[in-house]
Symmetry: C2
Subunit: 389 residues, 2 copies
């Protein structure tokens, strides 16, 4: 039973990118200490840690990551759990943190996400990421994630006339936004031609249709809304937190042109938050590949099926639009340290709703949404946030 | 806020051992379908899955394991989260399931634990398990888990006069119990001499002081106690569910002869359950190494510091004793598929409290405890269970 409203009272990010200067511990500390400082809490206030990481074992040899987070941040003896749901690990960690506070089990909890991906070769990374799908029936048979999303893209193009230029326009927009985000992995604007002429990875997806391999961490602090102002003058409310699953195997889904788990989680979230897709001012969506942003725009109800590609290409989702998408630069431009992504999306929305998003601030942002996907759609997590004043 | 009592209404195990006949999916199905059948629920009843696995990525290449569990058990679109806390993954998964039902967020939830460890070489397995400690400061420097627990054993012997024979008596008792458990990895009784003369692994721990590398899965179904009898005639109450953390690094602990996280979690659990250590009829404790059972007996308050070794050797914790310890055979005799262990401990206690433990039934068992440890003690989870009639 949800007995009270929940607010985000502190947020922090590490710089995203190829962080040769930092391991898991340093990344956690960079993001976590920012969040704690931002929330003006002390380590004694924290009752529980939820830490999202996807494949720290394969990437670094380190499991037991939430306990390490607790240890590293100086929370002595505070219980911690690591949450893993592939690239939705961060979103799922946030959801469990939300449940703990909303149900009155805990008051102050810390939600963290981290991934250190660049200490292995790119083929080792591709293989580790393949564990997000069905290892035996997909990865072992030779298909990697670019291949899975390429099939979804090809079908979307076939059914709805979505074009390579429309896909490329997602990358261009997100690199534009990342250019204004000091935490982003890439500070380089792209053109449609550059994306379309970049190296083919899995037809029709080129290198610049794909999010990168990244290191990074994100953290936030949750508290009951009723006491949040003790810590922070601009608490941001979590209006809804929902999650759904689907088959791990792409071949067994009802459709290749959308992610059903997203639609289910979104419909529940809109209902719980008492808002509609129309009310959302900005959304951080899971653009692991450019096609994924287009499907998300449709699955979240922002656009009718088949109309999202044209909308991005027409510039309907920029920082100046009625609905701004991936203001942080998204996974494509800001980077995608997989376990950190779901938490980082929430950090960006909090900054936007507080009016602290610097050069990429969306005007009068009141309601924001985050959308975090695991695998090719076996998990989807949707959160909706609102200003509390 | 805990608004209601929680009951276990169904349990299931796979056979533990070197399961060349089964992968992750088959193990999950074997345990999960037993639990569902035992609970007399249908897949439509299930609202959430909490799945514990420690290092499925390193062992099998498969992450996103809870979504796979949901998929494999036929729970379409039911949200799932994987919980990882090293060898306490199962216990932590159970704790989150408990919180969800006790707080009224969900009614019927499934808690699963699984590990498939035998598809890699033993040096790969040792390395994967090393991720439970601090990878950079312990494993990378050359210390493995037998080495960490050997240091704890050596210090316990130094401070309290604990002997190699006393350590060996833990293994002998647990193999005696496993002999009566059809799910156990080992059906071979041991003698003190066999243990002491087995190959040295990390002085003073020999091969037969160490739990094995195992494949296996465990599952249970939770429901609010108030409606539990709709599904099952003998619901078992969860009287307490508590967890604590400590530093990942053994070198930074207050003491080497006990696990502080265990003491903290146990004290909280006794208080919440309104029972004392004296009231416990049986306990499944985390005997990853024989010394760990002796430390657990002391940390859980069953024996004074330094007195547990003698107690085991004197036969005070057998199936016929006032307090029976590791009736299933424990990690040592029944096997230790790491992510499954915490859930399997609960399954054993449920069988004992229902009177369904066959040849190893403890007479008049009314209150049982489970104790699940992650790493060398960075996480400890304690649950207390009671009969509901």
């Amino acid at each position: 039973m949800y007995v009270r409203e929940v607010a985000v009272i502190g947020v922090g990010l590490s710089r995203f990118g190829e962080r040769w200067d930092a391991g898991l511990k340093e990344l956690m500390a960079e993001a976590g200490l920012h969040a704690i400082e931002d929330a003006k809490i002390t380590s004694d206030d924290v009752e529980m840690i939820y830490g999202g990481t996807m494949a720290s074992g394969s990437f670094t040899g380190q499991e037991h990551v939430a306990a390490l987070m607790s240890d590293q941040l100086g929370f002595k003896n505070v219980p911690a759990v690591r949450i893993e749901n592939a690239c939705a690990s961060g979103g799922s960690a946030l959801r469990l943190g939300y449940i703990a506070v909303a149900s009155g089990i805990h008051d102050i909890v810390v939600v963290g996400g981290v991934e250190k991906m660049t200490d292995v070769t790119s083929s080792e990374a591709t293989s580790a990421l393949g564990g997000a799908g069905d290892q035996e029936w997909e990865l072992f048979q030779g298909i990697t994630f670019p291949g899975l999303y390429a099939m979804m893209a090809r079908r979307h193009m076939h059914d709805y006339g979505t074009t390579e230029e429309q896909l490329a326009s997602v990358a261009v927009k997100n690199h534009d936004n990342a250019f204004k985000n000091k935490y982003a992995q890439f500070h380089k604007k792209l053109t449609i031609d550059e994306v379309i002429n970049s190296k083919m990875v899995a037809d029709p997806l080129k290198l610049l249709d794909c999010s990168p391999i990244s290191d990074g961490a994100a953290a936030l602090v949750l508290a009951p809304l009723e006491t949040a102002r003790k810590y922070n003058d601009t608490p941001i409310k979590i209006l809804a937190s929902e999650q759904a699953s689907d088959t791990l195997r792409l071949a067994e889904r009802d459709s290749l042109t959308g992610i059903k788990a997203t639609s289910i989680a979104a419909q529940k979230a809109y209902k719980h938050a008492k808002v509609s897709a129309n009310d959302i001012d900005l959304a951080e969506v899971h653009d692991c590949f450019t096609i994924a942003e287009i499907m998300a725009m449709e699955d979240l109800g922002f656009y009718k099926k088949g109309e999202a590609g044209k909308a991005v290409a027409d510039g309907e989702t920029t920082l100046q639009s009625k609905l701004a998408i991936n203001t942080s630069g998204g996974l494509k431009g800001c980077g995608h340290p997989v376990g950190a992504t779901g938490v980082k999306q929430a950090v960006e929305v909090v900054w936007q709703l507080r009016g602290q998003a610097e050069g990429r601030q969306v005007k009068d942002a009141e309601i924001g949404l985050t959308h975090n996907v695991g695998g090719s759609g076996a998990t989807a997590v949707v959160h909706i946030f609102g200003r509390s004043n």
